[in-house]
Amino acid sequence: MSAIFDVRNLKKMFGGLAVTNDVSLSMAPGDRVALIGPNGAGKTTFVNLVTGNILPNSGTVTLGGEDVTRLGPTERVRRGLVRSFQVTRLFSEMTPEEHVALAILQREGRSGKMFASHRAMPDVMNEAQALLAKLGIAQLAHHRVSEIAYGQQRLLELALALALKPKVLLLDEPAAGVPQSDTARIEQAIADLPSDLAVLMIEHDMDLVFRFARRVIVLAAGEIIFDGSPDAVTKDARVRQAYLGSYADARSVA
């Protein structure tokens, strides 16, 4: 199948150190890819580069055949490339309902309306309500984000990404910081995503990775050292090497 998302030789230097070094990867519609690697491997930096939040030193990003390397984050999102943040980024003074409604309105090109209220739009309200219910935070819909627990903010972070109905979805540790009792909701929400969506998930919890991924990519010190099936990854010598000492640690992070 042809690639919807293609990254070629992406490189980023932070003060002389290559945090992402010549990374290439491509995804087709329907892919379920887990991106793993030790702390500081450059996973988040990779997502930041791909989404245009930071600029690479070299390399290209192609989305649905179009080179988007020179475009800003906004333009990439409009072309269907959506990410979630490892450290939650929300509007602290706004409610979950407002967050999700705004994302839905933005997706539909209605976020610029000045003489309307999302509350008077039943389609938006119903969709927002259903999405919040799916992630188990419907009862918090009208609380300010600054008043709700971090674990539930993580669920809202995921809800925002889903509300945008992307073509390519990059999730940066969606389950980190979420109480064990709620991770099932996250898994279910991800499992329910449209089958033609390409999803890349960064995750430290290997159980989650094995349930989700049909392909695993391992990043270590800014380079891809493994790209293959979940079965093969645990047997790979270089992966074991990279994780040596930090693997036990990595398992417990989530």
């Binding site: 989404t51 939040n53 800003g72 984050p73 906004t74 999102v77 409009r78 959506v82 990410r83 943040f85 980024r89 929300l90 509007f91 602290s92 003074e93 706004m94 407002e98 409604a101 705004l102 994302a103 309105l105 933005q106 997706r107 209605r110 976020s111 610029g112 309306k113 000045m114 003489f115 309307a116 209220s117 999302h118 509350r119 008077a120 039943p122 309200m125 119903n126 309500q129 219910a133 419907a138 009208h142 925002l160 945008l164």
Partner: protein, 335 residues
């Protein structure tokens, strides 16, 4: 699920009613205050009208600073554009219908807002503040130099507005101007309440809280801010036009750094990010200034300064903001 959706519709309708009630109360409070002012200070209507004009400037500042988080000390440029726009239309082009003058002021203000926005939004934080100061200084200097149009430092005179709708002449006591101003303020207030609650308004609040998140939603931060700057300019321009119509002169002070800074002080005094805060800040500041400067012409600035320090230290969210926060705390305890 049906049950869930149902209960949600009810809460939404209830919510909506609560908000409409709050808006109606806001309008009512403005009307009552207006009437009280009219009957208590019949000889001071000129001052009251000036307060309304400045209130429009402070509301306008609240839109970009309070709602969008843009730092500016140059907002009087927008007010001055409206004042000179309306004044020049009347004095040089014979456009003396007050509604037409108002329209010219609004357009001039919106254009000035666009230009300021394009310049100011190129930077963030302190450099942004410096750019805004540069803009108001440049505007001031331009108005000073173009004395053929603006009357320079003598001010622009010869502004003779017609009767409103051909019915109400602008009288010596300033009654017509006062009512004109109140109506203008009410219209602006109702429109702005709509805008700040709309999806666009949410986007603006989002930009203030986290622009990175706004971009990650696919929204344009810069485009949204520019739009808000133009709206803000229209509101400030309306205030400037009101000032030109009611005083029948336009001076360079309406385009000054001092005026910009005072507008910011009034906004902080009342509380940013809520239209009520802007109104309360303007009224308290100008009323206090008037009373204190009459009572103690030598030390009034000191007293105003002390008041400001007290408010910033003890009510950092401003008069209205602190009051609203107090009510919310009490409401939560009561629940």
């Amino acid at each position: 699920m049906a049950l869930l959706a149902n209960s949600d519709t009810i809460s939404t309708a209830g919510d909506r009613r609560a908000r409409l009630t709050r808006d109606a109360i806001g309008v009512l409070v403005i009307l009552v205050l207006a009437a009280v002012g009219y009957f208590l200070f019949p000889n001071n209507l000129a001052l009251l009208t000036r307060i309304i004009a400045i209130a429009l400037l402070v509301l306008s500042l609240d839109l970009v600073t309070g709602y969008c988080g843009v730092a500016t000390l140059g907002h009087a440029a927008l007010f001055g554009a409206g004042a000179y726009g309306a004044g020049i239309a009347a004095a040089h082009f014979g456009i003396t219908d007050p509604i037409a003058m108002l329209a010219v002021g609004i357009v001039a203000g919106a254009l000035a807002g666009l230009v300021s926005g394009v310049v100011v939004l190129r930077a963030h934080g302190l450099p942004q503040l410096v750019l805004s100061i540069a803009i108001v200084h440049l505007a001031h200097e331009a108005a000073n130099k173009a004395s053929g149009w603006t009357g320079g430092s003598d001010g622009l005179a010869g502004i003779m507005p017609d009767a409103v709708f051909g019915l109400w002449q602008f009288d010596l006591w300033g009654r017509t101007a006062y009512v004109f101003g109140i109506v203008l303020l009410l219209v602006a207030f109702v429109i702005l309440r709509q805008i700040v609650r709309s999806p666009f308004g949410m986007l603006c609040r989002g930009i203030k809280q986290d622009p990175v998140r706004v971009r990650a939603m696919g929204a344009s931060v810069h485009g949204t801010l520019i739009k808000m700057y133009a709206i803000s300019g229209a509101v400030a321009g309306a205030g400037g036009a009101l000032n030109a119509i009611s005083t029948q002169v336009v001076g360079l002070d309406s385009l000054s750094f001092t005026m910009s800074a005072e507008a910011l002080v009034m906004l902080v005094l009342g509380g940013t990010g809520s239209l009520y805060g802007a109104l309360i800040g303007t009224i308290s500041f100008l009323w206090f200034e008037d009373v204190v400067s009459a009572a103690n012409p030598f030390h009034w600035l000191t007293i105003v300064g002390a008041l400001l320090i007290a408010v910033v230290l003890f009510a950092p969210k401003g008069l209205y903001g602190s009051f609203a926060a107090y009510l919310e705390r009490r409401g939560r305890k009561g629940r």
